[in-house]
């Protein structure tokens, strides 16, 4: 090859290739790196969301694909908001949400406060307490139905051991009065550790010198607890409540396995009702509208809550 050819090749190298040799521009790299993620989210999160909104204005039924689809405007939304079953499922969700949050905050904070006393071996016991929240809710929920068996279940046996009530006289999952509490108990068992961990992070973020200053000012321990500990942990606690609230609003797997929404429909929470409408009655349009209403509800409540949270943080 003559020198001439080399020159020609060199000068003919397109700018694009030349840059490749030196490395791509930052801008190009940014798009190459973000692109696939955005694409995946568009395909599996955003596009389905838009499709759901579209479906919510129709009378489409997924098990009858060949039937002509009609746009029926807001009629699905009207029907949902006047449907008694939907309101009952919202009530069941509210009961579950309120009591699980109540017990989890109470137990979670207490445990975090105790663990923060830094007794020997607290790391190991913290890990053991955390175990339930790492496990599959469906598998664990399924096993709890065994613990709740009236005669042979461990739960009933332990209750009868301590209270003297006959273990076959009450059925946690089968009784209308007890079933809502049976799911609260399992969810509390499972998720108290989450609230505990967040509270623990909050407690550990309080610098020692604040307590030392309070000690110099001769503030009592009780006063220190209410004027330092509680206010400083509150933003963390509120965050934990936010996450648990969103998760429990969506609650499906655990309750499906435990009660399946029964007995009757006393534990039929929003998600379970939605599943029944969408995948058993196949009212796709109607359930899409319900899905959108649920999403807007969670999103709205969460936004209001986050505003409140930010106010607490600023104080």
């Amino acid at each position: 090859m003559s020198d001439k050819t080399i020159d020609r090749v060199a000068s003919a190298t397109p700018a694009r290739v030349a840059r490749k040799v030196k490395g791509l521009s930052d801008r190009a790299i940014a798009w190459i790196f973000v692109g696939p993620t955005i694409f995946l989210l568009l395909a599996i999160n955003i596009f389905p969301l838009i499709w759901t909104i579209n479906l919510s204005f129709t009378n489409f039924k997924a098990n009858r694909v060949n039937r002509a689809v009609e746009y029926i405007g807001l009629r699905n939304y009207e029907r949902i908001l006047t449907d008694g079953d939907i309101w009952l499922s919202m009530q069941a969700t509210a009961h579950f949400l309120f009591w699980t949050l109540f017990f989890q905050v109470l137990l979670g904070f207490t445990l975090a406060w105790l663990i923060n006393k830094k007794f020997r071996g607290n790391d190991m016991w913290t890990t053991i307490i955390v175990l339930p929240m790492m496990l599959s809710p469906a598998v664990v929920g399924n096993f709890w139905t065994f613990l709740y068996q009236p005669q042979i279940g461990l739960f009933n046996y332990v209750v009868s051991f301590f209270t003297g009530v006959d273990p076959s006289s009450f059925d946690m999952l089968g009784s209308v009065d007890l079933a809502p509490w049976s799911i609260v108990i399992v969810d509390t068992w499972m998720w108290t550790p989450f609230v505990m961990l967040i509270c623990l992070a909050g407690l550990r973020s309080i610098p020692d010198y604040i307590y030392e200053a309070a000690e110099i000012d001769r503030a009592s321990k009780l006063r220190q607890f209410f004027t330092i500990t509680i206010p400083m942990v509150l933003p963390f606690l509120m965050l934990a409540v936010l996450f648990r609230g969103i998760e429990n609003f969506k609650m499906f797997d655990l309750v499906v396995q435990l009660t399946g929404g029964g007995p009757g429909s006393v534990t039929e929470m929003a998600s379970i009702n939605l599943k029944r409408e969408a995948f058993e009655k196949w009212r796709t349009g109607y359930s899409s509208a319900f899905a959108i209403i649920l999403f807007v509800t969670v999103f709205g409540l969460a936004s209001i809550y986050v505003k409140a949270l930010n106010k607490v943080k600023e104080r």
């Binding site: 445990l111 071996g121 955390v130 399924n142 065994f146 042979i152 969506k250 499906f252 899905a291």
Partner: protein, 312 residues
Amino acid sequence: MSYSVTEPSSRQKWIAGALVILYALITMAPLVWIMMTSFKTPPDSISYPPKVFYQPSLEGYVNLFTTRTRVSPERLAELPPPTNFAEEIVRNRDMVIAGPSKFGGRFLNSVIIGFGSTFLSIFLGTLAAYAFSRFKIPLADDLLFFILSTRMMPPIAVAIPIFLMYRKLGLTDTHLGMILLYTAVNISLAVWLLKGFIDEIPREYEEAALIDGYTRFQAFYKVVLPQAATGIASTAIFCLIFAWNEYAFAVLLTSGTAQTAPPFIPTIIGVGGLDWPAIAAGATLFLLPVMIFTVMLRKHLLRGITFGAVRK
């Protein structure tokens, strides 16, 4: 000896320790009971009062992995003697092993889908997180928040259009379909967590590498990736645990080929009702890896949970 006002007295420590240990023992009871039940015989598992001491048996595990058929005593007597312990246990119940059960396949599906989606989430998530952390991307904050807010949708609500879409694309009940779906669900959290970890790595390291003649890409995988390794590992664990435990999508979108273990385990049925030792055996095999993982990697996991939550 130094005195500190913030150090609890030893009596306080004792009381605190005792209460926490009491709670931990109560919390462990159902999990221990699952494992104990898996080593019981079916009659032992449903005896009253619940049996704490019993003759351990592998019947639950044998039943979990096999399907069995009942044979008449005369027919049983004609058979050659059992060749292994499983056959022997089954023969004692007047049955013979008919073949393997579906559990092995379902467990394998969980492994394939779990690791597949975790790998994909971490691969895509790390790239995206690096870009969000280091480059100016238009509307980056809004984009991140929007990505995260899609997790507020109940899974069933997302499942309606996904179900229709997968039916059209032929992705229903396929490994690929489930891997893509779990990746899409996980990636929002993965990007969010990983961005936090990468934000903590000083930019100066990369800038020094760039000056030394590295390209941006080389700087990314030779400087940033090793620094972010711990963060990547703990994010991967969260993705894996989510995919491993997920039930709602699995129960709606899979039925056979790609069905994972969580929808399968509750459906294990024995002769005349649910076979609790077999269910417990399945649950034990399915839950134990996560428990061991949690104990081994507790430092990263616990930090990851609080870090992920508090940063939001």
